[in-house]
Amino acid sequence: MRTFLAHVELANPITTAAGCAASGRELAQFFDLHRLGALTTSSITMAPRAGRPTPRMAETPSGMLNAVGLQGPGIDAFLERELPWLAQRGIRTIVSIGGGTMAEYSALARRLADAPGVTALEVNLSCPNIEDRGRVFAREGSAAAEVIASVRSIMRYDVPVVAKLAPDVADIVSVARACVDAGADALSMINNPLGMAIDTEALRPSLAAVTGGLSGPAILPLAVRCVWQVHAALPGVPLIGVGGVTTGRDAFQLILAGACAVGVGTALFHDPYACLRIERELEDLLRARGFQRLADAVGLAHRPPGSAPRHLLVDSEESSP
């Protein structure tokens, strides 16, 4: 079940999705975090952020809306308390960063460049760009590329930079390509698409922020489609598939579409042990289908129609010495 995120080896492909594992300590009460492929932190910002007013959450069919607004302690407290806690324990950590300006992303990268314990840096591009009338970076290939190029130039060469993409774009492939051309070592997709719910008792929007990010099983097909399209266009780029994964079979879909790692988010709210269960289920599925290595399944669904599956159980038995 080993997998590679660019050149970084992960013991298994299951990671937590950004913003769904808080600082790590909360989940550590339930299981040993070393059993994760990696833990992805909440998106860290320069200054502490109080986030959005409540209600921040509304349950929707097979999903939920959230508008937390990147509540967090800011980079200083993160480097002082949260990252060392993870680093001392040797937990593989993908640090997610979020900013309102190009300069903020660069400043965050500078602060993290020499911090021990950063396995990879994920750049949350679904933040409103203050300098562009609040349009999110991920909607604009050029804005996303500019951020990635700057962060890539600051981070050490051995720390992969991962661009987190949003599905709310006309052409996700062009944004993905712009990020890769700008130096992204890997891509993570998808961030929450925007949604909205209305409270029919109060006769107003359910969320204080009016709109929020939709997550949960409802968005799995959207994630599979995005991973599929990007893998088809950029087959050599490592992808972290994220979006609505609640079972090993969901994770397997994303892997077959082209992901080499899978992020688990909303499922953690329902089941704190979701990552371990999904990993186990995925392993069973792979074994039942005769895969020796996870890498053999990555993007396998792209093979032309009519061609034989490459790794049927019989094959592997015959070829094994």
Binding site: F30, A50, G51, P53, T54, G74, L268, F269
Partner: protein, 283 residues
């Protein structure tokens, strides 16, 4: 910890449902004020968030049972209300920070409104065990929505009941009766669990008498374990700085005077990390 609990009994208590579940690990670790989160809707449900419930009672039967009291508010609680004996449900708990209890035998007033009263009974048990005097003030919109009046009468020195329609006890709200109870019993501390608006009023009364008040808040939560960041409210810390803290992880029990009830549902301008520069002053 996560436990697959077997439903032992279900019963209706006036307007509410009570569910007793065999959950040994949770019962063992439980302290008054803890809550549990429950997965609703069964294995293939479309409901992805857990529902949080405070624990009304813990018994040692069958290795340990917990009793939850709730009202049907939507499809999740409706599903839970349909559970029958021998059904299993998925519980995570005990969660949150419990009520701090006094070391000395002081006078305590316990204030509960609607099914929020349920959480106060284990508190009362512990207080009485420590030699404290316990007095209850329980209320609700109508007689069938005042939870636990009988049990309160059995255990407390006095029990004052209020209903908004006057169908039971005094007409009005718990906070209308509270000042007299605090004065008569010479109370040293108030414990309360109720909707946010009532907790605000209870806290105001306690502050007027200059006695501490411990409140258990009922906030909407998705996870209950501190990862989703949706159940936040503005609370003043020991350092005087207001932070948006999680009701599930830092609460659900807070010192009432530290909760900025007027600002619940907003980000106060001076909160740590508030838009427009609250962060700068906090450094």
């Amino acid at each position: 910890m996560q436990v697959t609990g077997t439903v032992l009994t279900t019963r209706r208590v006036d307007a509410y449902h009570a569910l007793t579940v065999v959950a040994p690990g949770i019962a063992e670790r439980y302290r008054p004020g803890h809550f549990v989160s429950v997965a609703v809707g069964g294995a293939h449900t479309s409901m992805v968030t857990r529902r949080a419930f405070s624990i009304h009672d813990v018994k040692p039967d069958y290795g340990g049972t917990v009793e939850l009291v709730f009202t049907v508010r939507g499809p999740g609680t409706a599903w839970l209300a349909e559970r029958r004996a021998r059904d299993t449900i998925d519980l995570v708990g005990p969660l949150g920070r419990p009520f701090p209890l006094p070391r000395d035998p002081v006078h305590c007033v316990l204030v509960g409104s609607e099914y929020g009263s349920a959480v106060l009974f284990p508190v009362a048990d512990q207080l009485i065990e420590r030699g404290c005097r316990v007095d209850f003030v329980l209320g609700g919109a109508s007689a069938d929505r005042v939870f636990g009046a009988m049990r309160a009468r059995r255990m407390a020195q006095t029990t004052t009941l209020t209903t908004e329609d006057g169908s039971l006890g005094l007409r009005g709200r718990v906070t209308d009766a509270l000042p007299a109870v605090i004065a008569d019993t010479r109370a040293d501390v108030v414990y309360a669990c109720a909707p946010m608006e009532t907790l605000r009023a209870v806290t105001a009364v306690a502050m007027e008498f200059d006695i501490p008040v411990q409140v258990a808040v009922e906030e909407a939560m998705a996870c209950g374990i501190g990862v989703c960041m949706t159940c936040v409210l503005p609370v003043i810390g020991d350092d005087g700085v207001t932070r948006m803290v999680r009701a599930c992880a830092e609460g659900p029990v807070f010192r009432g005077e530290r909760v900025r009830f007027e600002d619940v549902g907003t980000i106060p301008f001076d909160a740590l990390g508030a838009p427009g520069g609250g962060a700068r002053h906090a450094g």
